[in-house]
């Protein structure tokens, strides 16, 4: 960021430098490969899963075997297939929520930071208001009112998650507005829309990307927590959270590991690798701000 704070957008050489610095983080590179692998598995779930995830069979709660790699659940559904579909749903929820909340946050942050005055005050006070509520409480209440379900969960998480992005973008816009190239644009009489989206936005894309990775990680955790509490994606659709919901029963917890441990491990690995990627990305984009 530093070397082009006066310059134009991220051009090719900047992107190359960012990639180069990112590659130095071995753990992050490995995490990125892992995430790609999981994404491919999730996308191809309908093709590679050995069974229909919702098909009931007669082998109830069978331990892992050659026929069922990760065993079956209480009503005889193949756990491996269910986990594939659950990963697909959880990644989808994470991705869609991140897109929705980032878009809302970026637009509001750009407007607040660029126009200032009363618009800024109103937007920032709304942001503060939403941030004051315990996040999970708002989500739980909204899920209770609108009913839990895939799209409701995505929309609820998306509409609650944006304040952080709005604050971040606003802060960046405030400092970018003082730079000469933006001032030059204003003096030249360029339209606001052009300055906002073609000049300011590209220069703040790095921090936004880093922030989006953290939203992605948090959303996967939240979806899991909601599912665990029975307020998330509803069965029979499998999600990583609602699979873990079964572990509230003591017999499953103590004697049927295959029904809860794999889902938990997948959540941890996904969130951990997203966090590692985000951290390395922060470092690669802004090496001056070494943590």
């Amino acid at each position: 960021m530093k070397q082009n704070s006066e310059g134009l957008e991220y051009n090719n050489s900047t992107v190359k430098m960012v990639i180069g610095r990112f590659r130095k983080h071995k753990l992050a590179v490995a995490s990125l490969y892992f995430l790609c692998f999981m994404t491919v598995l999730a996308i191809l779930a309908p093709i590679i899963s050995p069974y229909d995830p919702n098909k009931v069979s007669t082998s109830f709660s069978a331990p892992p075997s050659l026929a069922h790699w990760l065993g079956t659940d209480q009503i005889g559904r193949d756990m491996f297939s269910r986990l594939l579909y659950a990963t697909r749903i959880s990644l989808f929820v994470g991705f869609a929520t991140t897109v929705i909340s980032t878009v809302i946050g970026v637009v509001l942050g750009l407007i607040a930071g660029y126009f200032g005055g009363i618009v800024d005050i109103i937007i920032m006070r709304i942001t503060d208001t939403i941030m004051s509520f315990p996040y999970i409480l708002l989500v739980l209440v909204a899920a209770a009112i609108f009913g839990p379900g895939l799209w409701n969960i995505i929309l609820i998480l998306g509409f609650v998650d944006w304040p952080g992005a709005a604050r971040l973008v606003r802060g960046n816009v405030l400092s970018l507005r003082e730079t000469n190239f933006v001032k030059g644009n204003i003096v030249a009489g360029m339209p606001n829309r052009y300055i906002l989206f073609s000049e300011i936005l590209p220069n703040t894309i790095g921090p936004i990307l880093v922030y989006a990775t953290s939203v992605f990680a948090i959303t996967i955790l939240d979806e899991a927590a909601l599912g665990f509490l029975g307020m998330g994606v509803q069965p029979p659709t499998a999600s990583l959270g609602n699979i873990l919901n079964g572990a509230e029963s003591i017999t499953i917890l103590t004697s049927k590991f295959w029904l809860w441990v794999p889902a938990g491990v997948i959540i941890i690995l996904l969130v951990l690798s997203i966090n590692f990627v985000g951290d390395a990305l922060r470092d690669a984009i802004d090496p001056s701000a070494k943590e």
Binding site: T129, M131, Y135, L137, L229, L253, G264, I267, N275
Partner: protein, 314 residues
């Protein structure tokens, strides 16, 4: 200084009003209290009479205003399920939650601050990278999954720790018993608090360590211990305090899940019960209370920040 405090308070007021509006709007969205009273024998006329009695025939803003006046007088309404006043329900469950959250925060910081400093002092070494990587685990493990593992290990397998409630039923009610029940939930919350704070502490201390006055202190030859503890740590505490203030809503969110799993009789547990039972007055009472607490905490943080850091402009 006084001008600054007044300015911060003025900013907090619209947020406070926003909180009450949002709270009231959600409660209205949830449905009218009449719908929840309808029984097989309720007549139209009785409903209408009830509506007038409750003031539901008046416009939205009048109803909001009446509700707000009641809230200001400490009347948060009545639970739909138990008919108890909401303020009474909250009052009787506040203690356990404060105990749980407070202890977790202390334990979490007691882990995070020394590790964060150690990491910063030994920056860019293997030990530093290892600690930072471990801290990522703390933030990436869902608290409920960690709870399941802990319950399996310490309750089911080893039988060391109780997995539910605040005291042994029928047993002694001493402090030892309470601590016994506190260990697991506190440990789980503390791990996630420590996970996110290690990196904040580390980066705060790192920044201070690069300041000129720390270099001066070091060159005076007062030794590493004094340099770090007297000069660096005190100044690093300022940003750390701010971050902690911002984490209170998150901490409460974590408490909701942990209280549910460990049957801890606090605000989180009654909130979760209220959510499943659709007892909106209770839910929104808790939401209102926590939002106001968060707002006050942020206000106090801002003021403390200004008191501690003389470079802040009022």
């Amino acid at each position: 200084m006084i001008k600054y405090i007044i300015k911060r308070t003025m900013i907090a007021i619209p947020v406070l009003i926003g909180i009450t509006i949002l709270d009231y709007a959600i409660m209205s969205l949830a449905g009218s209290p009449l719908e929840m009273m309808i029984g097989p024998k309720t007549t139209e006329a009785a409903l209408e009479a009830k509506a007038i009695q409750l003031g539901l025939d008046k416009p939205f803003y009048v109803q909001y205003f009446v509700w707000l006046m009641n809230v200001l007088r400490g009347n948060l309404g009545y639970s739909i399920k138990s008919y108890q006043p909401v303020s009474q329900i909250i009052g009787s469950h506040l203690g356990p939650t404060l105990l749980l959250m407070g202890t977790s925060m202390l334990v979490g910081l007691a882990i995070a601050i020394p590790i964060g400093i150690y990491s910063a002092v030994h920056r860019y070494t293997k030990r530093d990278y290892t600690l930072v990587t471990i801290s990522f685990f703390g933030t990436s493990i869902p608290s409920f999954f960690l709870s399941l593992i802990f319950i399996y290990l310490f309750t089911v397998k080893l039988g060391w720790l109780p997995s539910s409630g605040i005291k042994t039923a029928g047993g002694d009610e001493g402090v030892a018993d309470l601590i016994w029940h506190l260990i697991m939930p506190v440990l789980i919350l503390a791990i996630s608090i420590a996970g996110s704070n290690i990196r904040y502490v580390r980066s705060a201390v790192l920044e201070i360590l690069q300041k000129d006055y720390v270099r001066t202190a070091k060159s005076k030859g007062i030794g590493r211990f004094l340099t770090i503890n007297k000069h660096a740590l005190r100044n690093a505490l300022i940003p750390i305090v701010t971050v902690i203030g911002m984490q209170i809503p998150m901490l409460f969110g974590g408490a909701v899940i942990i209280e549910q799993i460990f049957s801890w009789p606090g605000l989180g547990l009654i909130t979760m019960n209220a959510i499943t039972g659709r007892d909106y007055p209770v839910i929104m009472g808790v939401a209102l209370l926590t939002a106001v607490v968060v707002l006050l905490a942020n206000l106090i943080t801002d003021i403390v920040y200004a008191l501690v850091d003389p470079t802040i402009k009022y």
